[in-house]
């Protein structure tokens, strides 16, 4: 019996104009958007490669270690075609240096982009599903029960020995099957387009992630179908059900996600916290400065000049710089000498000694300030954003968006993985410097006895997190989606069961 019902419903749904029209429009949108997104990805990848090359070249040109700037560049994520998330937004180049611990807030975006173009929002594939498939789900659902009631066919069906649960189940299964068709076709189309492009290579892990994305999409659509079914079960007239469905759709998809954050304002009430943390960090650096001066005053070399009165041919400068907004505070000394006169030669051991001391001391102070800086930045920037994300999750659209980003690795966690890697890389660089005594070497400030050897420096590389990590990040919200589904199905079942026909 169930099979017969499903068969009937399936034919009912598949052979309609609404189904054909929606699928056609959706495939059209998916194909155009995928093409545009792939092009955009290729451009970002090219810009990334250019930047990596440029940074390497600029590094190689520097003859002294203190003048060289080591950069880490964040490659674009190929799965951003499905869910863009924060991939395009947050900084994608950062200097890795012993003078501060790199974090999200110290990164920059390389200059290749046209910043004006950010005015136009980018549409990823998940957004198309979010808008069109949810609409299709509601269009399938609004007349599922109300329509049959109005036409009287529900009565007719129930005169047969059919359980009401079976009717619901058959409607649900057939509608979900119908929704699955456009979903799978569009994902398949976009994967085909992606494989055609030479610059995108999807790993087996990526296919697993896309699988997770499909699973989540099905759950999301199921929620919208169930919302429509609920409206259909509680309303006796098709027109009312239709009106209500459309308003609910407009509210959940269009209005709520945009309005809710305006209603709850973004308060920057952390100003006190920020100032006190900044003062603390400033004090640490002042203490560093005292120690530095103390070292210069007590060493065997007369005079207290930081560069030990080196004259030479070249340039040297040292300065503190700070940014109270991101709590950044650094001390930097850059020296590029090509050679020295006779009178400078006896100062060399003292200079090397001093810079060795500075190197380890700057590193230690930077590490120490990071302990203060990290929790405050977390509170100021991340906590507020997380609260806003939680508010967005009151709509299924918000949950779906969050899960899709988690699968694609374009959510905040995915981006922070990169900065975690840069911190590890900084450790590696510092260890390399200490092992080879770079801080205390002559190449630190002068190129006259051989230039800095950048070739043997460990290279930076960033791997996206493994699939297990993605699963772990997506799982809570996937469970939430599942729970909402179950709850709504039960609710509809109860309402439908007790309803007069």
């Amino acid at each position: 019996m169930l099979i017969t019902l499903i068969h009937r419903e399936l034919l009912d749904n598949l052979m309609t104009f609404r189904f054909a029209a929606t699928v056609f429009i959706m495939l059209l949108l998916v194909v155009t958007n995928t093409a545009v997104l792939i092009k955009d990805y290729e451009r970002r990848l090219a810009a990334h490669n250019d930047a990596v090359k440029m940074h390497q070249r600029q590094l190689d040109e520097k003859k002294t270690y203190s003048a060289g700037r080591v950069y880490a560049d964040r490659p674009p994520n190929p799965l951003s075609i499905f869910s863009l998330g924060l991939d395009k937004r947050l900084g994608n180049q950062i200097e890795v240096s012993h003078k501060y611990v790199p974090s999200l807030w110290d990164a920059y975006i390389h200059e290749s982009d046209n910043p004006f173009m950010d005015m136009f929002a980018s549409m990823d594939i998940v957004f198309i599903f979010e808008v069109i498939l949810s609409l299709l789900a509601l269009i399938f659902a609004y007349d599922a029960l109300a329509g049959e009631y109005e036409r009287g066919t529900l009565r007719l069906v129930l005169t047969h020995p059919v359980q009401r649960g079976h009717i619901l189940l058959s409607k649900y299964i057939s509608a979900m099957f119908c929704l699955l068709v456009p979903l799978l076709i569009s994902i398949l189309l976009s994967i085909i387009l992606m494989t055609i492009s030479a610059s995108i290579s999807l790993s087996p892990g990526d296919f697993l992630r896309i699988g997770g994305l499909i699973l989540t999409s099905v759950m999301y659509l199921s929620i919208f179908y169930l919302i429509g079914l609920l409206i259909s079960a509680t309303n006796r007239r098709m027109r009312t059900a239709l009106m209500l469905s459309m308003f609910v759709w407009g509210f959940l998809v269009l209005v709520y996600p945009n309005v809710i954050l305006a209603v709850f304002p973004h308060v920057e009430n952390q100003e006190v916290r920020r100032t006190s943390a900044f003062n603390q960090i400033e004090q640490m650096w002042e203490e560093f400065d005292r120690k530095r001066k103390h070292f210069l005053a007590t060493d065997d070399f007369p005079g207290e000049d930081w560069g030990l009165e080196l004259r030479g041919w070249g340039s040297r400068h040292a300065f503190f710089s700070d940014n109270p907004r991101t709590l950044l505070y650094t001390y930097e000394s850059v020296m590029q000498f090509d050679g020295f006169g006779e009178e400078d030669e006896h100062k060399m051991p003292y200079a090397q000694n001093h810079f060795r001391f500075l190197g380890s001391h700057v590193t230690a102070t930077a590490d120490r300030t990071w302990l203060t800086r990290k929790p405050v930045l977390e509170d100021i920037f991340i906590q507020q954003a997380n609260m806003e994300r939680a508010l967005l999750k009151l709509s299924p659209v918000g949950i779906y968006d969050a899960v899709a980003q988690a699968w694609a690795g374009t959510d905040l966690n995915g981006i922070r993985d990169f900065f975690e890697t840069t911190r590890q890389y900084r450790r590696t660089v510092i260890n390399y410097f200490t092992d080879k005594d770079v801080f205390g070497s002559r190449q630190w400030f002068s190129a006259d006895k051989g230039a800095a050897d950048w070739r043997s420096l460990p290279k930076f590389s960033f791997q996206r997190s493994s699939v297990e990590v993605n699963v772990k990040r997506a799982l809570p919200e996937v469970c939430l989606l599942l729970l909402i589904n179950l709850f709504m199905f039960l609710l509809i079942f109860l309402i439908f069961h007790r309803r007069e026909v």
Partner: protein
């Protein structure tokens, strides 16, 4: 008779669920919009006023020192005046920089006899608010969103069954059996729907304006009110377009459900996807060549110029000759750098312009462009601001030359301290920056969009007439 039909249509709607839901939704959105504006606008004004005071002081201090200092430091950072109608159209303002940098000290160099200081240039900073922003990305709830997106959807929901619904119920046949012409019926239907949609819109707009105008933080003058009037007229025109579209599909299609599906798909394509997808397509295929290493390129040009002038300076036989060469170098360098910055800016602007032209295929973009023009926000307004700044920079340069010419002790060698007047400049003599915005100018920029919107409307309306006159009942 028309009014009779319109009134019947109106009564029908007033009692319906959709009317209640639409009123509630619009009111909530408009009130949110007003409260957000009242919360954010005073801070924007404050920031602007502080920047203007700072700018004024900066000019006066430089002028007090000497004419050379003023000429070297330049016009300083100039800020864009925030629009008091930003609640109407946000227009991507966060992505547009709010200032132009005029006078950034780039380098100083000692050439033996003379020390050189770089002259000011106009540089255009880019606004990247998102680099450290980890907050979720949402559309701003401005009038452009409320009317352009939400109200257009509501307008379709009010008209999708206007004709097909009556046909389904059989009342259309009944009505046409009386001596009512089809034109009358259609006009009546249209007016009825227009009035029913206008009621919630008018109420919510009035509430919104009431909240904003009664607040002491925001001041609206007469010009602003006339701009608001124009914006409201445009909003009604835009709504009429969607009502006509709803009637068109409703007349063509036999069943209301089909009519709704078609309308929703059309709406999703034209309103949700077209604006951004078309912009991305236009942007992707016309993207300027990679700018990686702009800074590097700029310094490279600087060094090339120096290696050209340095030998000439050393070869200079007299001090005066050396001074002239050095002055020429400083001025040349500033001009070269400014050209570089301007070229990059123009490349970026032309890309955005192309993208904006193509997105005009979508009525919602036309509507939003119109709103931006009259609200004094958005891209066109930014271009106007840049134009004003360039004009001011020109005026400033002429002022420097004229003042120097009037100073008897000056050698009239620009670019060098020793070659220019050392007299202080009176603060009131320094030209002031005026960020002019005139309604007639905005009308000119908006004319094309306005015509396009009217054209769209007339096209759909005539289509509706034709469809309804020829349709079988």
């Amino acid at each position: 008779m028309i009014w009779h039909i319109a009134a019947r249509e109106l009564y029908d709607n007033l009692n319906s669920l959709r009317f209640a839901l639409a009123t509630f939704l619009l009111l909530a959105l408009m009130l949110t919009n007003a409260s957000v504006h009242l919360r954010e606008h005073p801070a924007r004004i404050q920031k602007y006023n502080d920047a203007v005071t700072f700018h004024r002081n900066h000019l006066n201090t430089a002028g007090n020192e000497s004419l050379y200092k003023l000429a070297q430091q330049g016009i300083g950072d100039i800020f864009k005046k925030p629009s008091s109608l930003r609640f109407c159209a946000e227009g991507g303002e966060p992505f547009l920089p709010d200032s132009v940098q005029g006078g950034h000290h780039r380098w100083g160099s000692n050439w033996g006899e003379y020390s050189l200081e770089s002259f000011w240039i106009l540089a255009y900073p880019s606004s990247t608010p998102n680099v450290i922003n980890v907050r979720p990305d949402v559309t701003k709830v401005d009038w452009g969103f409320i009317i352009g997106y939400v109200l257009s959807l509501i307008a379709l929901l009010f008209t999708f069954d206007a004709i097909s619904g009556e046909r389904e119920q059989g009342t259309l046949r009944l009505m046409l059996a009386n001596s009512i012409s089809r034109h009358t019926l259609l006009t009546g239907k249209f007016l009825g729907a227009l009035i029913s949609v206008s009621i919630p819109l008018t109420i919510s707009v009035l509430m919104n304006l009431f909240l904003i105008s009664t607040s002491s933080d925001v001041h609206l003058n007469t010009e602003v009110w006339s701009r608001l009037g124009i914006i409201c007229i445009i909003a009604f025109l835009y709504i009429c377009l969607f009502l006509a579209l709803g009637l068109l599909v409703s007349a063509l299609v036999q069943r209301s459900a089909v009519s709704l599906v078609i309308l929703l798909l059309v709406w999703v394509i034209f309103v949700v996807f077209m604006p951004n997808t078309l912009a991305s397509i236009a942007g992707e295929y016309t993207s300027p060549k990679s700018n990686v290493g702009f800074e590097e390129h700029s310094w490279q040009l600087h060094y090339e110029l120096r290696s050209e002038y340095r030998p000439r300076y050393i070869a200079g036989e007299s001090l005066l000759k050396k001074l002239q060469v050095a002055g020429e170098y400083v001025i040349q360098d500033a001009e070269q750098q400014e050209r570089l910055h301007e070229e990059r800016l123009n490349r970026r602007i032309s890309q955005v312009k192309r993208a904006r032209t193509i997105t005009r295929l979508s009525p919602v973009t036309i509507f939003q462009h119109l709103l931006e023009s009259f609200a004094g926000t958005g891209f066109e307004r930014h271009l106007q601001f840049l134009e004003n700044v360039k004009e001011y920079a020109q005026q400033f340069r002429i002022f420097i030359v004229d003042t120097d010419r009037g100073a008897p002790e000056s050698l009239h060698i620009f670019g060098m301290r020793e070659g220019m007047s050392q007299q202080p400049v009176a603060p009131e003599a320094i030209p002031k920056f005026q960020d002019t915005l005139s309604l007639s100018k905005d009308f000119n920029t908006a004319a094309t969009d306005l015509l396009l919107l009217v054209l769209f409307f007339l096209l759909v309306l005539s289509g509706t007439y034709l469809a309804f006159v020829r349709v079988e009942i």
